[in-house]
C-alpha cells in the first residue's frame, strides 16, 4: 500500500507530468484560459489516462511480449484513440454541458503526448498492473492539478497590467516556467 501511495505522490508532485517531464504542454497552454474548462479537461484526461495505462499494460504484457515490442507505440496509440472515442460518446450522453465546454479539446486528448507518454514510461519502469493504474491516475491528477492552478493564475493575468510585448502566450509561458521552478521544490520529497 505504501508503494502505491508513494507512486501517487511521486507522480502528482515530484515527477509531475507537465512541470518535470514537459509532456502534455499543448492542452496545458490551450485549455487553461478558464477554470471551468480546465477542470473539465482534467477530469476527462484523468478518466482516459487511467483506462489507457491499464489497457496498454495488458496489451504490452499479454499480447505483445518481448518479441513484438516494436509494435508498442503503434498499438498504444490505437488503444488510446479507441478509449478517447468511447469517452467522447460517454460524455456526450451523460453531460452535454461538459461536452460543449470541452469542445474540440476532447478528441484532442488522443494527441495529448502525456497520455501516450505515461503508458510508455510504465513499460520503461516495469510497473505491474496495479502500479500502472496508480501511475496513470497519479500522472493525470498531477496534470489536472497543474492545469487548474495555472488556469486560476491565467484568469488573474487577464486583469493584470502586462507590458505589451509580453501579453498573451508569452506571459503564460513565463508563468509556466516559474511554476515549473516552484515544482522543483518538491524534488527532495521522495527519493
Amino acid at each position: 500500500m505504501r508503494d502505491y501511495l508513494l507512486i501517487l505522490i511521486g507522480t502528482v508532485f515530484v515527477n509531475n507530468i507537465v512541470m518535470a517531464k514537459m509532456l502534455g504542454l499543448c492542452p496545458f497552454m490551450g485549455v487553461s484560459r478558464k477554470l471551468e474548462t480546465a477542470i473539465g479537461m482534467g477530469a476527462a484526461t484523468t478518466f482516459v489516462l487511467t483506462l489507457a495505462s491499464g489497457a496498454s499494460y495488458l496489451i504490452d504484457t499479454y499480447l505483445l511480449g518481448a518479441e513484438l515490442s516494436y509494435l508498442r507505440t503503434l498499438s498504444f496509440i490505437v488503444v488510446i484513440a479507441g478509449i478517447v472515442g468511447f469517452t467522447e460518446m460517454f460524455i456526450k450522453k451523460t453531460s452535454p454541458v461538459l461536452f460543449r465546454v470541452l469542445g474540440i479539446y476532447l478528441p484532442l486528448i488522443t494527441t495529448n503526448c502525456a497520455v501516450l507518454g505515461i503508458p510508455l514510461l510504465n513499460v520503461q519502469a516495469e510497473h505491474n498492473f496495479v502500479e500502472s493504474l496508480f501511475f496513470g491516475m497519479g500522472g493525470a491528477i498531477g496534470f489536472t492539478l497543474v492545469l487548474v492552478l495555472f488556469a486560476a493564475m491565467r484568469e488573474r493575468l487577464e486583469a493584470a497590467d502586462v507590458p505589451a510585448p509580453f501579453r498573451g502566450t508569452s506571459i503564460a509561458l513565463v508563468t509556466a516556467a516559474l511554476m515549473s521552478l516552484a515544482f522543483m521544490g518538491f524534488a527532495g520529497l521522495i527519493k
Binding site: 513484438l68 498499438s75 490505437v78 488503444v79 479507441g82 472515442g85 468511447f86 460518446m89 460517454f90 450522453k93
Partner: protein
C-alpha cells in the same frame, strides 16, 4: 510477422466493436424538430410567449406542451409556416397577444435615473448606458418587445410607433390573413 498482423488487426477489431456498441448504447436523441421550429421563430428572445426564449418555446412546441400561436413577433406568417411544418391547422394569434403596430421603445432622457434595470431586461442588448448614467435605446436593434417597460421605476420608457416614411418603409412580406375560427 503474421502474429503482429493478427494482434494489431485483433486490437482494431475489438476496439471497433466496442465503439460500435457504444455508439448505439450512448446515442443522443437530438430532436431535429426543435431545430426546425427554432429556425422559424424570429429569435427576438422577447419572452412574450411565456417561455424564457425562442429555443425553450420551440422545445415546448415540439413536446406538444405549447400552442403554435404564442409568438407575436413571428406574426401570421410564422404561425402559418409552423402549422405547415407540424401538419396542423394554422390559428390566429393567441389571446392577449394581439397585433400591435411596429414600434420601438424610447427612453425619456430627462426622467431616466440610470438604474440599469431596463438594460438587464433587454433580450437583444439594444439599450446602452451605465449605472447613474443616462440610458438610451439603439433604435435599429430594438424589437419592440416591451420587456423593458415593467422594470423601469420612473416609467420613462414609452413605445413609439414607427411611422412609415420614405426612409423607414420596407417591402412587406406577402401575408395571408388568417380567419378567426368561429
Amino acid at each position: 510477422m503474421l502474429s503482429a498482423l493478427l494482434i494489431l488487426g485483433g486490437i482494431g477489431l475489438v476496439l471497433g466493436g466496442i465503439l460500435g456498441w457504444a455508439a448505439i448504447r450512448f446515442r443522443v436523441e437530438d430532436d431535429p424538430l426543435v431545430e426546425k421550429i427554432d429556425a422559424i421563430l424570429p429569435q427576438t428572445q422577447c419572452g412574450q410567449c411565456g417561455f424564457p426564449g425562442c429555443k425553450p418555446y420551440a422545445e415546448a412546441i415540439a413536446k406538444g406542451e405549447a400552442d403554435i400561436n404564442k409568438c407575436p413577433p413571428g406574426g401570421d406568417d410564422g404561425i402559418r409556416r409552423m402549422a405547415e411544418l407540424l401538419g396542423v391547422e394554422p390559428k390566429p394569434l393567441g389571446e392577449g397577444l394581439a397585433h400591435k403596430p411596429k414600434s420601438v421603445a424610447v427612453i425619456d432622457e430627462n426622467t431616466c435615473i440610470g438604474c440599469t434595470l431596463c438594460i438587464q431586461a433587454c433580450p437583444v442588448d439594444a439599450i446602452v448606458g451605465a449605472a447613474k448614467q443616462m440610458h438610451t435605446i439603439i433604435e435599429a436593434q430594438c424589437t419592440g418587445c416591451e420587456l423593458c417597460l415593467p422594470p423601469c421605476p420612473v416609467d420613462c420608457i414609452s413605445m413609439v410607433v414607427i411611422r412609415e416614411e420614405i426612409d423607414s418603409w420596407k417591402w412587406r412580406y406577402p401575408v395571408y390573413m388568417l380567419k378567426q375560427a368561429a
